[in-house]
């Protein structure tokens, strides 16, 4: 019984690995530093649940002009869809994000660039 308990504990620890659910951006569409056709929406996936009240996104063109976004967060709290209110013209863009983690109360920030051809 002790061996079984130890095995369950070790299995659970190994399943989690050392990856803490400290909220960070883990995936984006379009991907960082990629170039491609204009997407209808930007889809951002975070490693943990983010809190809408303290989460913000800013999209700017290479010349600094801001593009207004409509953002919605999925029920799991991790996937955010940012839809530009105007179609994206050819050029370079930078998306800046600020997210607050529901789990540990931390704030994380970041940005990535992508191009439209």
């Amino acid at each position: 019984m002790k061996k079984l308990s130890a095995a369950i504990i070790m299995a659970a620890l190994c399943m989690a690995g050392p990856a803490l659910a400290h909220t960070d951006l883990v995936k984006s569409i379009p991907a960082a530093d990629s170039t491609g056709p204009a997407p209808k929406a930007l889809i951002l996936t975070f490693s943990g649940k983010v809190v809408p009240a303290f989460t913000r996104f800013d999209l700017a063109m290479g010349n600094g002009m801001k593009i207004a976004l409509t953002t919605v967060i999925a029920a799991d709290g991790k996937v955010i869809t940012c839809t530009p209110r105007q179609s994206l013209a050819v050029g370079s863009y930078k998306l800046t994000w600020h997210a607050a983690s529901a789990a540990d109360g931390h704030r994380t920030d970041g940005s990535f660039s992508f191009g439209i051809k």
Partner: protein
């Protein structure tokens, strides 16, 4: 199949100056330190009154003035630290201190974030304890109630930082490890605070010195058990927050450096605790013999316990800071 429900995010950007963020960040750390300190007193000191001091007589906790005042101070520290910490942390997330006061932001912090909900639990428990301590006569039942409330408050600290930050099947182990860590630390540091109060006045009466000696002996076994739990749960927490394959990042991340400083403070406390247990307490026992004088033994104990208390305060400050830093495993 209907699409999942979605929630809107405010489209506005944040404007925040760096200094504003730094001041708020430092305020959050100070308020976390106050909550840790109060929690240690409420649980650890209350338990100490029960297991280490005699139940009756003039050496009993209920016969002295300071135990009840000490616990009431602990409750005030937790209450004020929890509510002000809630506002400061909310302000830090929202962009300014004033934003931390807005009902919408506070509601989001309390209903959607672990730190907000746990702050309300701590503030409520501390308020109840304060009134019990203020209006009830000192008794063993009061110390038991205070210890129970202190245990709830101490355990809730796990939700204030990284303790509840791991998802998936192993998240429960991390959470339980964090709760065990803070409970054991409370038992040790709360007892240390009580020892400092016991040693502050130079009683000059043999009965008080004998009570102190007995308290030291009773604490020694409990202290050793607390250290064992702290080490074991600390290893579990490190698995999640440092990671077995990131040990080399200890010196290259802020989290790693603060954790190293915390381990140094812990090692210092351990060394002093060993000195107290194996050298200074037996020396006091010898000094209690009719032909000897306690003065030198008490002075040595006083110095050692004050140093241990200083190390404990430094450790709590580092823990308060540590909880605000991204752990090594976050890769930030």
């Amino acid at each position: 199949m209907p699409p999942p429900p979605q929630m809107g995010i405010a489209p506005t950007g944040l404007s925040r100056s760096g200094s504003n963020k730094d001041v708020l960040g430092a305020t959050v750390i100070v308020l976390r330190f106050l909550q840790y300190s109060g929690a240690m007193i409420l649980l650890g000191s209350s338990l100490f009154f029960l297991y280490a001091l005699p139940p009756e007589g003039h050496c009993a906790a209920k016969s002295r003035a300071w135990p009840r005042s000490l616990l009431a101070c602990g409750a005030v520290l937790v209450f004020s630290g929890a509510l002000l910490g809630l506002v400061a942390q909310t302000g830090l997330l929202a962009g300014s201190f004033s934003e931390g006061f807005t009902p919408d932001n506070l509601a989001a912090a309390v209903t959607q974030m672990n730190f907000g909900a746990s702050a309300i639990v701590r503030a409520t428990a501390a308020a109840i304890l304060f009134f019990l301590l203020a209006f009830l006569a000192p008794s063993r039942l009061l110390w038991m109630g205070s210890a129970a409330g202190g245990a709830v408050i101490s355990a809730s600290l796990a939700w204030m930082g990284h303790g509840a930050g791991t998802e998936g099947p192993a998240g429960l182990f991390h959470l339980l490890g964090d709760i065990a860590h803070v409970l054991a630390a409370s038992v040790w540091i709360g007892a240390l605070v009580a020892f400092v109060f016991l040693l502050l006045p130079d009683s000059g009466d043999t009965q008080s010195d004998a009570a102190l000696y007995n308290a030291l002996r009773r604490f020694s076994g409990i202290g050793a058990a607390a250290v064992a739990v702290i080490v074991l749960s600390g290893l579990i927490n490190s698995w999640f927050l440092v990671g077995p394959d990131r040990l080399l990042d200890f010196c290259t991340t802020a989290y790693g450096r603060v954790l190293l400083a915390k381990l140094v403070a812990f090692a210092g406390m351990l060394g002093l605790a060993a000195l107290n247990r194996y050298r200074l307490t037996p020396a006091l026992g010898q000094a209690l013999l009719p032909v000897a004088s306690c003065a030198a033994a008490l002075l040595a104990l006083r110095r050692s316990l004050f140093l241990e208390m200083l190390a404990a305060l430094a450790l709590l400050g580092l823990v308060a800071w540590l909880g605000t830093l991204p752990p090594i495993t976050s890769g930030l």
